[in-house]
């Protein structure tokens, strides 16, 4: 067992056994397994890094140019007491990051079970299913923060942020992105066959959440009977928080609490559910 490569009768490549402490590995993994898993997502996404960066830098330029400058030019006067660009930038930031969160929650998770087999492989190691789900959230969280930072910087070039406190929009929209991510991740772990499910989710869940997120106009101008769509949309809550951070949008404290607690609750509930769906899928 501890043969360290003494050549046998026919010398050839051998495997060295250095006497790893397996129990120490297990103990560390019980604690840090989620972080150990998160490295997979980083490695797996590396080939797409250039594309991702192009989108991360390009999107804000296109959106801000089209909406902030284009649409802004025909919007008469101020919206919510600020220029249209200042009004729309937090909304676009939230929508972009939350949509990315939703995307990561569908195909990559489903594909991980079906094609890349990373969860199956991971479950041959000391990792537990719930740790892999938490690792995904960790890795995606990092991605969303990076994307938010890039968007924020590009928007700054447009002069979209009236104050430095607008930096707080970054954690706010990351919260919204993760609130889209974890419930979708949990659901995607239950999908056996690639189907129309994800198209439906994109069109009937993510899209309405975007349209009613108050991105281009305040949700309050909508008829009251449609406003509920915005209320269930993490994007709207993220947008509102980002606006408060950016230009100090007036908001009652209880509602601010809802904007923080609702996405947080979604993240936690989604994470808990994902732990269950991952285990259900992997444990035989």
């Amino acid at each position: 067992m501890t043969d360290t490569g003494t050549p046998g009768a026919d010398a050839g490549p051998r495997v060295t056994f250095t006497g790893l402490d397996h129990h120490a590995l297990a103990a560390r993994t019980r604690r840090w397994g989620w972080l150990q898993y998160a490295g997979y997502r980083q490695v797996a996404e590396t080939p797409f890094l250039a594309t991702w960066l192009a989108v991360a830098f390009g999107n804000p330029v296109l959106y801000l140019a089209a909406m902030g400058l284009g649409l802004g030019a025909i919007v008469q006067g101020d919206v919510d007491g600020v220029s249209y660009l200042t009004f729309v930038a937090p909304g676009l930031l939230a929508a972009t990051v939350a949509t990315t969160g939703a995307q990561f929650g569908t195909w990559p998770i489903f594909g991980g079970f079906k094609w890349q087999k990373n969860y199956l492989a991971g479950y041959s190691t000391p990792l537990e299913p719930g740790q892999m789900a938490l690792g995904e959230t960790t890795a995606i969280g990092v991605r969303l923060v990076l994307q938010a930072v890039i968007f924020w910087l590009m928007a700054a070039l447009f002069g979209a942020w009236p104050s430095a406190s607008a930096l707080l929009a970054i954690p706010a929209v990351t919260l919204a992105g993760l609130a889209m991510f974890t419930p979708l991740m949990a659901y995607s772990a239950t999908v056996e066959n690639e189907g129309l499910q994800f198209n439906f989710i994109q069109r009937l869940v993510v899209m309405p959440m975007f349209l009613f997120a108050g991105t281009f106009f305040p949700l309050s101008v909508m008829p009251a009977y449609l406003q509920w769509v915005g209320w269930i949309s993490p994007m709207w809550h993220g947008t509102q928080l980002a606006r408060m951070a950016s230009y100090g949008m007036a908001n009652p404290p209880w509602l601010t609490a809802v904007h923080v607690l609702y996405p947080l609750a979604l993240i936690l509930a989604g994470q808990w559910w994902a732990g269950r769906t991952f285990a259900k899928r992997l444990v035989g």
Binding site: M1, D3, G8, G12, P13, R14, V15, T16, F17, T18, G19, L20, H22, H23, L25, A26, R28, T29, R30, W32, G33, Q36, Y37, G39, Y40, V43, A44, P47, W115, Q116, K117, N118, L120, A121, G122, Y123, S124, T125, P126, L127, E128, L282, V283, G284
Partner: protein, 323 residues
Amino acid sequence: MSEAGGSVTAVSVIEARELTKTYGDFTAVDAISFDVAPGESFGLLGPNGAGKSTTMRMIGGTSLRTAGTLSVLGLDPERHGPEVRASLGVVPQADALDEELRARDNLYVYGRYFGLPRAYLKAKVPELLEFAQLTDKSDAKVTALSGGMKRRLTIARGLINEPRILLLDEPTTGLDPQARHILWDRLFRLKEQGVTLVLTTHFMDEAEQLCDRLVVVDHGRIVAEGSPRGLIQEHTTREVVEVRFGSARNAEMQAELAALVADGQRSRAGLEVLPDRILLYTDDGEAMLEEINRRALNPLTQLVRRTSLEDVFLRLTGRSLID
């Protein structure tokens, strides 16, 4: 526990008692008991659907047993899954490689799953690629590898944590003969190094090549246990005569041939009628052939060969290992 040189000090690394797994009212693994000694190469030989993979998953704690007890390195894998899997190398029946990643990245991320330090992996990954004869494929995506290369990569991956037990679920199924021999050579080296191997297979030649000891499983039950040689001695005669009469005459010759084997032979002698041929178990194949020819039974083809594990399975179940 047999075979481990009769040593009483060797504590089993795996101990299964009445291990059972049911799916609904279907029993996939039916109260099997076995022991694996350290350094031993232990096999589960059985046809498709015998319950081999299910047993392997229960050993890793990734499938929950329905009844019985199981101890792997002294621990219950269901309660101590991470501890057990930290010490195991798992080569599943389906490779579960990430085809879009490079060969070495597959090893690297897998090593990270164990929490192995980057410095350790930096040395270990090239060593294992070398062992698997994949050094020149290090930077290739897995999609570009042949079936045999993927299998070797999966074995290399299973060794990343210097496992105390390597579990191999059908290591060479689907590979061509040359790829199988390369793989056997690698596994043989591991065995020489004292790595405990637990492998499943439905190839009797693989079991004969690699296993010190094995259990023959069928329908979730152990039908025989022993060393390959011991099993052959115990359950079959020394030789077997294979005769073909063509599909039309095959069945009608049965009675006449049965009389032949019953003639003054020991109980292990006998015959098996397969759709395309009849097997006659006897200790003296040449004499049997002469007798067949003396009686002018006129088989289309005839041959005498040594008995193998395939014959053990046939004698025990009346069926062929590979259908």
